[in-house]
C-alpha cells in the first residue's frame, strides 16, 4: 500500500517536472517565434498555439507512462523484474520501493492535489456550461441550415457556436432582428467556421491540457489560440460572403446591439475592445480573401503520437534515465 502510494506520488512528480520542462521549452520557442508568427495567417497561428498548449501535456503523459511502464509490465507478467538490474539508486516501482524521498513526496502530493483540484474545476465548469447551453437550446427553435441554427428568445446576447461533435449555432432572435440579412450571414458564416474548425473541441482539449502546466502559461497559450481562432473565422466569414468590410460592419453592429442594460457588470475574462478593434482593422486591411483550413487537431494528435511512441518503445531505458535523474535531483 505504502509502495503503491509512493509510486503514485513519484509518477505525479515526474509528470509535473516533465510538463514544466516542456512548457518552459514551449515558452522559449514561442518567444522566438512570436515576431515571425505575427505575420503568419491566423489559422497557422491558431494551429501553433494549439500545439504549444497540448505539447506539455502530451510530453507529461507519454513520459510518465513510459517511466511507469516497466514495473507495471513486470507486475502483469509481461516483462522480467526490472528492479534486479539496478540496486544503486532510487526505485520507481510499486513492488520494490526503495522508500519515498521527502522532496519527491512533497512535489508529487502538491502536483497531484493541484491537478485534481483544477481538473474538478474545469470539469464542473464544462458540465455547467453544457447544461446551460442545452437548456437554452431547448427554449429555442431550430431554424435551418446544414449546421443547425437555434433561434433562442431573449435580449440580443447570443451568437454562439456550441457542440463538441454535433455543432449548433445559438442565435438570439432579437439579435437576428436587429441585423440586416448580410450581417446575419456574416455572423453565421463566422460561427460555421468555428464549428468546421472544431474550435469548441479544441478549446476543451486545451483546457484539459492546461491542467498539466502552470496556470499563467496555460492562460497565455489559450488566449493566443482564441484570438487567432477568432481572426481565422473572420477570414473564413469574409471569404464566404466575399466582402471583408461587411464582416467588419457586422462585428461593429453586433457589438453595438449587444451593449445594453443586460451587459454583465462582473469582470469576465474577455478579448475586450482591443480584440474587436484588431479584428476590424485586420478585416479592413485584407486585400486577398483566403480561407485556410485548420490542422490543429491532426497536428496535435500526430505530435503526441510522435512523442509517445519512441518513449514507449524505449520505456526501459527511459525508466532508468528518470530514476537516475530523480536520484541525483532529490
Amino acid at each position: 500500500m505504502i509502495a503503491a502510494l509512493s509510486f503514485l506520488l513519484e509518477c505525479a512528480a515526474i509528470a509535473a517536472l516533465l510538463a514544466t520542462g516542456a512548457s518552459l521549452l514551449v515558452l522559449a520557442v514561442s518567444a522566438v517565434l512570436v515576431p515571425v508568427a505575427s505575420r503568419a495567417s491566423p489559422s497557422l497561428r491558431a494551429d501553433l498555439a494549439f500545439l504549444g498548449g497540448v505539447l506539455p501535456a502530451a510530453a507529461a503523459i507519454a513520459g510518465t507512462l513510459s517511466a511507469a511502464a516497466p514495473p507495471i509490465a513486470s507486475a502483469l507478467g509481461l516483462a522480467t523484474d526490472h528492479c534486479q538490474t539496478h540496486g544503486h539508486h532510487l526505485h520507481l516501482c510499486f513492488v520494490h520501493s526503495a522508500g519515498l524521498r521527502p522532496a519527491i513526496a512533497t512535489l508529487g502530493a502538491f502536483s497531484l492535489a493541484t491537478f485534481v483540484f483544477r481538473g474538478c474545476s474545469v470539469l464542473s465548469r464544462f458540465l455547467a456550461m453544457r447544461r446551460r447551453l442545452l437548456q437554452l437550446q431547448r427554449l429555442g427553435s431550430i431554424v435551418s441550415g446544414e449546421l443547425p441554427v437555434v433561434a433562442v428568445p431573449g435580449p440580443p446576447r447570443m451568437c454562439h457556436a456550441t457542440g463538441l461533435l454535433r455543432g449548433r449555432i445559438l442565435l438570439s432572435s432579437s439579435l437576428a432582428e436587429g441585423l440586416g440579412p448580410g450581417e446575419v450571414r456574416c455572423a453565421l458564416a463566422h460561427e460555421e467556421a468555428h464549428l468546421r474548425r472544431r474550435d469548441p473541441l479544441a478549446n476543451l482539449l486545451m483546457s484539459l491540457a492546461g491542467l498539466f502546466v502552470p496556470t499563467p502559461v496555460s492562460r497565455l497559450l489559450q488566449r493566443a489560440y482564441r484570438s487567432a481562432a477568432e481572426e481565422a473565422c473572420d477570414a473564413d466569414a469574409a471569404a464566404a460572403v466575399g466582402d471583408p468590410a461587411l464582416v467588419a460592419e457586422a462585428l461593429v453592429k453586433v457589438a453595438a446591439v449587444q451593449r445594453g442594460p443586460w451587459q454583465p457588470a462582473e469582470t469576465v475574462p474577455a478579448f475586450g475592445e482591443l480584440a474587436l478593434e484588431r479584428r476590424v482593422r485586420l478585416l479592413l486591411a485584407r486585400t486577398g480573401i483566403r480561407s485556410r483550413p485548420t490542422h490543429a487537431l491532426l497536428v496535435g494528435v500526430a505530435t503526441s503520437l510522435a512523442i509517445a511512441l519512441p518513449l514507449l518503445v524505449e520505456a526501459a531505458s527511459f525508466h532508468h534515465a528518470v530514476e537516475t535523474v530523480l536520484h541525483r535531483l532529490f
Binding site: 446551460r132 447551453l133 427554449l139 431573449g154 435580449p155 446576447r157 451593449r259
Partner: protein, 134 residues
C-alpha cells in the same frame, strides 16, 4: 419589466413543474384540483403532489395565489413568452459571467466593454475603406 425583478423565478423548470405551468398558462387561474383533473395519462400525479408543486412554483414567484374558499387559486405571474425570454436571458448572462471561455465561439464577445468612441472610430474606418474601394 416584471421578469427582471424576480430572478429567482427565472430558473429552468423540472418536468412536473413544466407540465403544471403549461396547464396554468392556458387558463387565467387554476386550483390544485383543476390542474390534477387536466393532467392525465403519463402526466397523471397524486393531488398532494400537484399541491406541493403549485406551492413550490408560488414560492419561486412564478404563480400568484389567493384563497378561494378552502383551496388556493393560482394565476401565472408571467406569461409563457415572458418566462422563456427571461430564462433565456438569465442563462445567457450566466454563461457569459461564469464561462469566459464561451467567448471563444461567440461572434462578438458580449462581455467585452466597448465604448461609443471606439465604435464610432471603427464605423469611420469602415466608411473610409468603402469609399477607397469604390
Amino acid at each position: 419589466m416584471p421578469i427582471a425583478m424576480n430572478r429567482r423565478a427565472l430558473q429552468p423548470l423540472g418536468e412536473l413543474e413544466t407540465a403544471v405551468m403549461d396547464v396554468a398558462w392556458k387558463r387565467p387561474s387554476v386550483t390544485a384540483r383543476e390542474v390534477c383533473d387536466r393532467m392525465t395519462g403519463t402526466q397523471e400525479r397524486a393531488y398532494t403532489t400537484i399541491m406541493t408543486t403549485l406551492d413550490r412554483l408560488h414560492r419561486k414567484g412564478l404563480l400568484r395565489r389567493e384563497k378561494d374558499g378552502l383551496a388556493w387559486r393560482y394565476e401565472p405571474a408571467l406569461t409563457k413568452s415572458e418566462f422563456e425570454k427571461g430564462l433565456a436571458d438569465e442563462l445567457a448572462a450566466r454563461i457569459l459571467a461564469d464561462h469566459g471561455d464561451a467567448a471563444l465561439s461567440a461572434f462578438v464577445d458580449a462581455a467585452a466593454k466597448v465604448d461609443d468612441t471606439l465604435l464610432d472610430e471603427l464605423r469611420r474606418l469602415i466608411t473610409l475603406r468603402r469609399r477607397e474601394t469604390r
